[in-house]
Amino acid sequence: MKFGIVAFPGSNCDFDTFYAFHDVMNQPTFWLWHKDHSLKDVDCVVLPGGFSYGDYLRSGAIARFSPLMQEVREFAAKGGLVLGICNGFQVLLELGLLPGAMLRNKHLKFLCQFVTIRMENAKTRFTHKGRTGQVLRIPIAHFDGNYFAPPETLEEIEANGQVVFRYTDAEGRLTERANVNGSLHGIAGLTNKNGNVMGMMPHPERAAETLLGSADGRVILESLMSRF
């Protein structure tokens, strides 16, 4: 598997993400610059976290117009694998590759902490090395992670099994307190209908080695690396 890490002006998790795929998982990994018009024949495009274009206007709103994202849109339409982490998730929402939008966190605070999330669907390209119901401890770091979608969209994504992660307590229970940012249905990560595009607010690349406090994020990297 060849991975491409996208760098926008203002991305700040791009090196961590590159390191996780290239050094921790030993995968062929390439840089993709936002002005590029080619995806360098990678098998999976990863949009890392950060503050692309300063998060001006709305998180991810400007990044979606970059030349590379037009390539990513076509790549995704042909079934290519795309993972958006944090700001990358916001870009995918703005681009319309994933349904819904992000609002400011419910308590209006930037949240930078470990959270626990429950794997809701272990039959995706991004999670098949895990199991449904598994609880992962992975950090978040965002201001706008309060997932919103209109009721009919929510109903549809739930019915399709597109919700991949929900914020829960350490025992995997959905509680008001565990839903730190106020996301509807506690949604922390979801895929598109075809299952080839996933966005998630928690940072798996920051939980790829025990030295970092958790290696729970590896299950996502390992799922992507291995045959589905």
Binding site: A61, E94, A101, L103, R104, P150
Partner: protein, 81 residues
């Protein structure tokens, strides 16, 4: 021509920033404040554009860029011919 575009959350979307401003106003004793919705204002200077053209361009850029139609709505007006 100058236009002013006001982007705000749809009524169906919670606006935690507006809620916080409302709470602050209540704390200051402005009990009459029933609700606060916070938004963004854009003033755009358009060169060589007729009124009819503005009526096409402004909603287009508002929908495409300035507002996210999933959560936001917009209204606009011409503020300078």
């Amino acid at each position: 021509m100058k236009v002013r575009i006001l982007v705000s959350f749809k009524d169906s979307v919670l606006d935690p920033q507006g809620q916080t401003v409302k709470n602050a106003l209540h704390t200051l004793g402005y009990g009459a404040v029933r609700d606060v919705r916070q938004g963004k204002v854009f003033e755009i200077d358009l060169a060589g554009v007729s009124r009819a053209e503005a009526e096409t361009i402004v909603p287009e850029i508002s929908d495409k860029v300035l507002a996210n139609p999933i959560i936001e709505k917009f209204v606009w007006q011409i503020i300078e011919e």
